[in-house]
């Protein structure tokens, strides 16, 4: 069967069945790639030298920074899907941002947890209300709010459209998180990798960091695809149950 490889039109992907078979084919590869990257990344992150200033704890960076990036990227993915929902009415876009919200919350939680675990030795406290930290916390709350909104409405396509609006409006928070350090000049490290004038970080740390960042990114896509498949199946189950119930009540 080669027909599903010949996806030419964008709208072909709109067909959940086609999406299921395609993603089913991709997932094993994606999973393997993720595992491999993690193996390399973890190896590198435990074998590189410690920082003269931060000591061994710099190793936390290899988890903390990718998770923090992912927490923002996940929201960006959701925002793109939200556009898909509102503009193209793409049924997969609905599924996509619904499935991404819990993942975003998870990555944000990791960033928060590792950040405060890093903060204790470096700053001497678990938590400070500095701008960056608080805005990440707010991002976490926004993910939870979106999950709560999705759960509170039971018509899935309506819930998807309405939360898409909210996602887009809430997108204003992403730049705030990204630039909060520059704006308020607080405790937290300013960006040293992703900046306009090129990275200022030592390649000693940069390489494991980048490998881990890729590992996290692929992990996100793997999980996202899996969650989307689950959501499609869930909707398919309810649709078929309804169908069955209707048919039964027709016959009687």
């Amino acid at each position: 069967m080669t027909e599903s490889l010949a996806i030419t039109k964008f709208s072909d992907l709109a067909n959940p069945t086609r999406f299921l078979s395609l993603s089913g084919r991709i997932l094993p590869w994606l999973g393997c790639l993720t595992a491999g990257l993690f193996a390399v990344g973890l190896y590198l992150s435990f074998t590189t030298e410690g920082d003269y200033q931060q000591g061994e704890t710099v190793r936390i960076m290899y988890v903390h920074v990718p998770a923090a990036w992912l927490s923002m990227m996940c929201y960006t993915v959701m925002a793109l899907s939200a556009i898909g929902t509102l503009v193209w009415r793409h049924p997969l876009a609905d599924v996509s941002h619904k499935a991404a919200a819990p993942l975003g919350a998870a990555f944000t939680l990791i960033a928060l947890a590792t950040g405060s675990l890093w903060g204790k030795p470096m700053w001497g406290t678990w938590w400070v209300w500095d701008a960056r930290l608080t805005s990440v916390f707010v991002l976490f709350l926004m993910y939870l709010g979106l999950i709560a909104l999705n759960r509170a409405m039971d018509d899935p396509s309506k819930a998807a459209r309405v939360s898409a609006v909210l996602i887009l409006v809430g997108f204003v928070n992403i730049p705030i998180i990204k630039f909060s350090v520059e704006w308020w000049n607080t405790l937290h490290q300013p960006a040293s990798v992703v900046r306009l004038d090129g990275p200022t970080i030592d390649p000693e740390f940069l390489i494991p960091l980048l490998v881990m960042a890729f590992a996290f990114t692929f992990l996100f896509f793997t999980l996202h695809l899996m969650a989307m498949r689950n959501e499609i199946w869930r909707r398919r189950v309810t649709a078929q149950r309804r169908m069955a119930a209707r048919m039964a009540s027709r016959e009687s």
């Binding site: 406290t125 400070v128 209300w129 916390f137 707010v138 939870l144 709010g145 709560a148 759960r151 509170a152």
Partner: protein
């Protein structure tokens, strides 16, 4: 009666998304505060109890005014009034359900927020205890307001004049008891006992007043 309690709990869980909502709300409020007063941990820990109490008041106010109005709008209130159960009891149960669904999560979440606000263990405990004792009074006072709102279609102003001034003593004794627990010269017990007395008082007066107002709802 049990079924009324269950139904009201179910309704509040269905409509707003569950018990976690209260916690989430509280966390949002607390997360907003440092943006205003700044990251000064010392200051935060000092205003902490007050903020937590204000959050509780806000949460109690949001939605409480519609405690009976939703029942009236869909006609359920008529049927509730017709039953032989004493109306006071029905009102009490509705208050209880509202408290369980809206205030109890806040009480439970308050230690967490205390941690965020860098409050001492004693202060955290004191806030939680005073909230546990004080929030029912807020609910009972709110119930009177809600009942008045139902019986007087244009009672909006009256309700706010009725509810908030009555709620302020609760808030004041709650907050001052919490502070008394940490600040040395002031003893914890007197304001706490007054808070307890206020709650007892409103636990009787509130449902009575509310059921009186409901009976007189003129349509």
């Amino acid at each position: 009666m049990m079924s009324l309690l269950l139904r009201d709990l179910k309704l509040s869980v269905r409509a707003g998304g569950g018990a976690l909502i209260g916690v989430l709300f509280f966390m949002t409020v607390v997360a907003v505060i440092p943006f205003g007063v700044g990251p000064d941990l010392n200051l935060l820990s000092r205003v902490g109890p007050a903020i937590v109490w204000i959050g509780a008041l806000l949460a109690a106010l949001l939605g409480l005014d519609r405690l009976f109005q939703t029942e009236r709008d869909d006609g359920s209130l008529d049927l509730i009034l017709m039953q032989e159960h004493p109306l006071v009891l029905t009102v009490l149960v509705k208050c209880l359900a509202h408290w369980l669904a809206n205030s109890l999560p806040l009480v439970i979440a308050s230690p967490l927020l205390g941690l965020f606000m860098n409050m001492s263990e004693v202060a955290i405990g004191a806030v939680a205890v005073t909230l546990l004792v004080g929030t029912p009074a807020l609910t009972f006072i709110g119930a009177v307001g809600a009942a008045v709102a139902v019986s007087l279609p244009r009672g909006g102003l009256l309700v706010s004049i009725l509810v908030l001034p009555l709620a302020i003593p609760v808030l004041i004794f709650g907050v001052s008891a919490s502070y008394a627990a940490v600040q040395d010269p002031a003893p914890f017990m007197p304001p706490f006992l007054i808070l307890l007395a206020i709650t007892m008082f409103f636990a009787v007066i509130g449902p009575l007043g509310a059921s009186l107002a409901l009976r007189n709802a003129s349509d």
